[in-house]
């Protein structure tokens, strides 16, 4: 085979002065800049590009655009492997590597083509009816076998080394498609002063004009389009992005698009491979054109059969002649241009028109020698790996051929008009679905509106641009002169959903090429009661491949309508949903991958924790020290050491992540009274108090500390996990329930670094470093609040205790956090001060029976948790009134208890259920569950907190804690949830 044997000597928009090398299935080939992979393959005489999904039939290039069903290739290698890429959209660059898919061992000789012979066993829905027996074979053999055979391309198991970007764009008018309608719309809209974004999915503008030999204003249409586009590029209010697919329209006139920035370039680290756009527009002009559909006859999937419109794109845009002995089969006039263009390029062309001669007006554009068979159809083509013969019906004529160009008509591309729920309506006169009522903010122009006459397209585009601009408040300066295109024959289609009568093998007449769905499959669906469009789609998988049935859907609806004997208007369509074409996950992720997937939050002391060997854990977005292992320590040893150090001497933990809210105003106290179960409006200044908040349904929502810093000044802390939820709740209560309250509050979580110093020596340590505040027990008793300085920095100190030890929480403005922490660590050296993490903190609060997140699970009331006595009966507060419900007051409620193992060295799991009888399982035998379980160094054994039915009356009882997930059953005893220092002497001393 000689190099580029199908390349014409002249013509096309390619750069013939330069040659590019690329490979396909390892074979070295050449092309020119401007070629797509499909045009380059055809130029080299290669039609066979893949094997079909189910039957592994040889398949060739069918189209010249994004709607390609067959020629899906795998590009690149390693982490850059891109499977299922349509060869028609790949721009060839030097060194491009492409491979065919879904075949083994080779494209020419594919062993799985045996599937073709087994076709009777694989009709639509076969997996509901076959491979059922013996049952055990399903998991062991059938399913793994089917999984291996399924799919087209293969993913690489390597990380994608390319980088992707995300960006937002704003415009008044978004125009999708830079064909004749889109260009005219853009020009008119731009001249009115409105901001325009024009997006087109090819590498240069012109839309279908790039593949036509038509004149506009006396010049060839492709350069005419380039001229308009140049004019637009110079305008400040126009942004033109090529190689961009607008894949979805979402609520609120938001659009998703992906720009293939670097796919056509040799990969390099500076250029993003793709850029994902979120476009915000006021008006949409859908100038996406129409997609040609094939005709349905036996063997219509053979390599060498392609769409008529595509064939002339290869001639006009790429200078490639895909065949020399051509049969054009059509039901409309548009394909006559293909016959003309291919004939003028040197091919022998025979035209087969299903319509009667008197219906046809396009004959005049054909060269004299083109033979036309009127009122005939192709009933079958022959040729396994390439078409070589076409049989006509009813005449019985047989034609030798090496290329069959088919045209069943053009289907307007309505996706973006339909994604937000508008349904297309069948237009009988134009034999297509159209969006009759696209809404106030969208319109179609050109092929997308089933306007096919080029002069009408130009005029319609201009009108749409003016109307869209007007809707944005920009009047048009006046009708500019419309360009004039040469007159072409009208479209004049006669529907032919499938070649009738003598179709010898309905099972080889393909409707959906990519998913191998045939006319026989649709007939089967109808017979089995799945004839409605939505059912037939799922039953046969028609329209569910990566091309989303762009070539198949309309023909399928026509065939189903015929099978059901009802008009197409009644079959309806399936729903269009984003995305209109496959988009790489990398583009959707953009920069947010790996570490950048979501932000992390660090406290002011983070660096200190890092250099002191902290092992971190996630608490929401925060990174918190979990434990600080010393040399040779594992998790358990470190936590044990930390707990014992705090309880025997002193330790410090970073609690900066707590939510902090500051309140001011004369009604601040009253506001807090209405939010918490207990009261704060009458507490003393410079005091702190524990508070519990409920939801309106009576369940505990959050707990924390409320401190009064002045008559009209409060400072509250809430749990880390609920910080934003509580703030939101408070804002709701103030703005909606009680706007008349004179209280102002805001979050100050970030403004304060916070650390808890705990242990019998904590007072002495702080006394060494705190200036301006006396810390003796009389001056600064339990729950006192005061201010001083530490290392020159202001410090607010609260004597509160989560650990149950003598303890102080030290708050300092965050910029001073690291310095204050270090000063306290320095002051604590003589007492062996230890930094401790969240695990030691959890152990200690569990030892003291403090409830935290696991107990506040949204199903527990204050009474359940033993906090019932805190509930005031003298004020309104959120949740008060629903707490009185009888269902929440019963004695058999799940109540907070402590647990310890009867055999001292046994352990149990959080989530284990408590049952009376071992061995009896079932949801209704559960008496409750363990909410927290830890090893307690203080007690020397495992301890737990649990919610147990009527728990408070069952002290001393023995139960089983069972966890079937861990295959565990442990005898436990119900005890007081406060495991150490039950009278709280240590923290009050």
């Amino acid at each position: 085979m000689s190099r580029q044997s199908n390349r014409l000597h002249q013509g096309g928009l390619i750069d013939r002065t330069r040659e590019i090398s690329f490979t396909f299935d390892g074979r070295a080939l050449t092309a020119h800049p401007g070629d797509t992979l499909s045009s380059a393959l055809l130029a080299n005489g290669i039609h066979l590009t893949g094997r079909s999904f189910k039957y592994h039939r040889p398949r060739g290039i069918y189209t010249a655009g994004a709607e390609e069903p067959n020629a899906l290739v795998t590009l690149g290698n390693g982490g850059r492997t891109a499977p299922n890429t349509p060869a028609t959209m790949v721009e060839v660059y030097e060194g491009l590597e492409a491979h065919s898919q879904n075949r083994w061992p080779s494209l020419k000789f594919d062993l799985l083509a045996v599937n073709s012979l087994l076709k009777p066993f694989f009709p639509a829905g076969f997996y509901y009816k076959t491979f059922m027996w013996p049952r055990s074979f399903w998991y062991r053999l059938y399913e793994p076998m089917i999984r291996r055979a399924a799919g087209l391309g293969t993913l690489a198991n390597e990380s994608d080394p390319d980088h992707y970007e995300k960006a937002h764009a704003q415009c008044d008018v978004l125009i999708v498609g830079a064909g004749p309608a889109g260009l005219m719309a853009a020009r008119e809209a731009a001249h009115s002063g409105t901001s325009v974004l024009l997006a087109d999915d090819h590498s240069f503008p012109g839309g279908h004009l790039t593949g036509e030999a038509i004149e506009i204003d006396g010049q060839p249409c492709a350069p005419w389009a380039a001229g308009i586009s140049d004019e637009l590029k110079d305008m400040e209010n126009v942004r033109l992005i090529q190689r961009t697919t607008v894949y979805g329209r979402y609520d609120g006139m938001t659009f998703g698009a992906v720009e293939r920035v670097g796919d056509h370039l040799v990969p390099d680290s500076a250029t993003p491979r793709q850029r994902s756009w979120t476009i915000h527009a006021k008006q949409l002009i859908n100038a996406t054109g129409a997609i040609e559909r094939p005709l349905v006859f036996t063997g219509n999937d053979r390599p060498g059969v392609m769409l008529a419109g595509a064939a002339r794109v290869y001639v006009n845009r790429f200078g490639v002649l895909p065949g020399r002995n051509v049969v054009v089969f059509t039901n409309n006039d548009d394909a006559y241009r293909t016959a003309r263009d291919l004939s003028q390029a040197g091919a022998t062309v025979t035209l087969v028109d299903s319509r009667a001669e008197e219906k046809v007006s396009a004959r005049g554009i054909l060269p004299e020698h083109v033979e036309v068979h009127f009122g005939q159809c192709i009933s079958k083509v022959k040729g396994r790996s390439h078409v070589h013969r076409a049989m006509l019906a009813p005449s019985g004529t047989e034609l030798d051929c090496d290329l069959v160009c088919v045209s069943g008509g053009w289907t307007p591309s309505l996706h973006l008009l339909s994604h937000v729920g508008h349904r297309p309506i069948w237009d009988e006169a134009r034999t297509c679905f159209l969006m009759k009522e696209p809404g106030n903010d969208a319109r179609a122009a050109g092929g997308a509106a089933a306007t096919f006459d080029l002069n009408e397209v130009l005029s319609e585009g201009a009108k749409a641009g003016r109307a869209a601009a007007k809707s944005c408040g920009h009047g048009s300066p006046g009708n500019s002169k419309l360009p004039k295109a040469e007159n072409l024959p009208a479209y004049a289609l006669e529907p032919l959903w499938r070649v009738p009568g003598s179709v010898s093998r309905a099972d080889a007449a393909f409707v959906d090429l990519q998913n191998d769905v045939t006319v026989a499959d649709l007939e089967l669906a109808q017979r089995e009661g799945f004839g409605h469009a939505e059912h037939a789609k799922r039953y046969t998988t028609l329209g569910m491949a990566t091309d989303q049935g762009k070539l198949a859907n309309m023909n399928a609806l026509g065939i189903l309508a015929e099978l059901q004997g009802c008009p197409i208007a009644e079959t309806g369509t399936t729903t269009f949903r984003p995305l209109t074409a496959p988009v790489a996950f990398g583009a959707i992720a953009g920069q947010t991958r790996g570490k950048a997937f979501r932000p992390v939050r660090h406290s002011a002391m983070h660096h200190w924790h890092e250099i002191h060997n902290a092992v971190f854990t996630h608490a929401g977005l925060w990174m918190r020290p979990y434990y600080y292992p010393r040399k040779g320590e594992d998790f358990a040893a470190a936590v044990k050491r930390e707990v014992l150090s705090v309880r025997s001497s002193v330790g410090m933990v970073d609690v900066s992540t707590l939510g902090k809210i500051e309140l001011k105003g004369p009604d601040a106290g009253v506001f807090l009274d209405r939010l918490y179960i207990n009261s704060f409006s009458r507490m003393r200044v410079n005091r702190a108090r524990y508070g519990v908040m409920l939801r309106e349904d009576g369940m505990v929502f959050d707990d924390g500390t409320v401190s009064r810093l002045g008559p009209d000044h409060y400072f509250i802390t809430v749990t880390t996990a609920n910080a934003s939820a509580v703030m939101q709740h408070m804002e709701f209560c103030h703005q909606v329930h009680w706007p008349q309250l004179d209280v102002q509050f805001c979050t100050v979580s970030e403004a304060w670094a916070a650390m808890a110093v705990a242990g019998p020596n904590s007072r002495d340590v702080l006394a060494r470093t705190v200036k301006g505040l006396k810390l003796d027990n009389d001056t600064f008793p339990f729950m006192a609040v005061g201010e001083g300085t530490i290392a020159g920095a202001p410090a607010r100190i609260f004597r509160i205790s989560f650990s149950g030890e003598l303890a102080y929480e030290v708050y300092t403005p965050a910029g001073f956090g690291a310095g204050v922490w270090e000063a306290i660590m320095e002051a604590g050296k003589p007492d062996g001060i230890t930094s401790y993490g969240t695990e030691a903190m959890t152990v200690m609060r569990t030892e003291k029976g403090h409830v935290a997140g696991p107990e506040l699970d949204g199903r527990t009331t204050a009474a359940d948790l033993g906090l019932g006595q805190m509930m005031s009966t003298r004020k309104d507060f959120i949740g008060r009134w629903m707490t009185d419900r009888s269902g929440l007051a019963g004695k058999d409620r799940l109540q907070l208890v402590g647990l310890k193992p009867v055999r001292v060295d046994e352990t149990f799991h959080m989530g284990a259920h408590l049952v009376n009888d071992q061995g009896v399982t079932g949801v209704d035998v559960s008496q409750g569950h363990i909410t927290t379980s830890v090893y307690s160094p203080t007690c020397g054994h495992f301890i737990g907190l649990a919610l147990l039915r009527s728990g408070r009356a069952r002290s001393g009882e023995q139960l089983y804690a069972v966890s079937p997930l861990h295959d565990e059953s442990v005898t436990v005893e119900v005890v007081n949830p406060v495991f150490t220092d039950p009278n709280g002497e240590k923290m009050r001393g």
């Binding site: 970007e165 995300k166 960006a167 937002h168 764009a169 704003q170 938001t254 979120t278 915000h280 920069q591 947010t592 570490k595 950048a596 979501r598 932000p599 992390v600 939050r601 660090h602 406290s603 002011a604 660096h607 977005l621 925060w622 500051e662 001011k664 105003g665 706007p739 008349q740 004179d742 102002q744 509050f745 805001c746 100050v748 979580s749 970030e750 403004a751 304060w752 200036k771 300085t789 290392a791 020159g792 920095a793 403005p813 965050a814 910029g815 001073f816 956090g817 690291a818 310095g819």
Partner: protein
């Protein structure tokens, strides 16, 4: 008594994005920021005088303002705010809680557009707005000087924000 220490930036030990043609990014250290929330019933007095006195103030929500000052510390800023607002508002110091990054140059808008769908081109000069960039709550203030934006970022997110910004540039 120890001297009052200097507040530490959350970006200490982290490199800032390298300057690019058409774009500069710098932390503005020590920027005083005060959140002002109006009490009901009373509106504030005239606010224009504050700008001449070294305090910029922008409305950020119903009954809410954000005051910036590069010149004055918290005490000085709150004093000046008190002169104009009297008893009509409560003041909350946010200076330690947020760092300010100044992004300036013709490329500023394009960089920010990578992170926010807001049409920043339509943002009035000398105004500020709260929004979210890649899950990080930020306050964007647009200066009178063209192409200059101050981004106030909560300090715990600072390192993540700078990482995003470096990628976006």
């Amino acid at each position: 008594m120890a001297d009052k220490p200097t507040p530490q930036s959350p970006l200490k030990r982290h490199s800032q994005p390298a300057p690019q043609p058409g774009l500069s990014v710098e932390e503005v250290p020590g920027m005083t920021q005060v959140q002002v929330i109006l009490r009901k019933h009373k509106g504030p007095g005239p606010l224009e005088g504050l700008a001449k006195d070294g305090v910029s103030i922008c409305t950020t929500g119903p009954g809410e303002f954000w005051a910036f000052s590069e010149q004055h510390d918290t005490h000085g800023t709150e004093k000046r705010l008190g002169k104009v607002l009297g008893e009509s508002a409560s003041l909350f110091d946010q200076s330690h809680g947020r760092l300010v990054l100044r992004i300036e140059g013709p490329g500023a808008l394009e960089v920010l557009a990578r992170g926010t769908p807001l049409d920043l081109a339509k943002m009035p000069a000398a105004s500020a707005t709260h929004t979210v960039i890649e899950h990080i709550p930020v306050l964007i203030a647009r200066h009178r000087t063209t192409g200059r934006y101050d981004i106030s970022v909560p300090r715990s997110y600072a390192v993540s924000f700078i990482a995003w910004l470096a990628e976006a540039i």
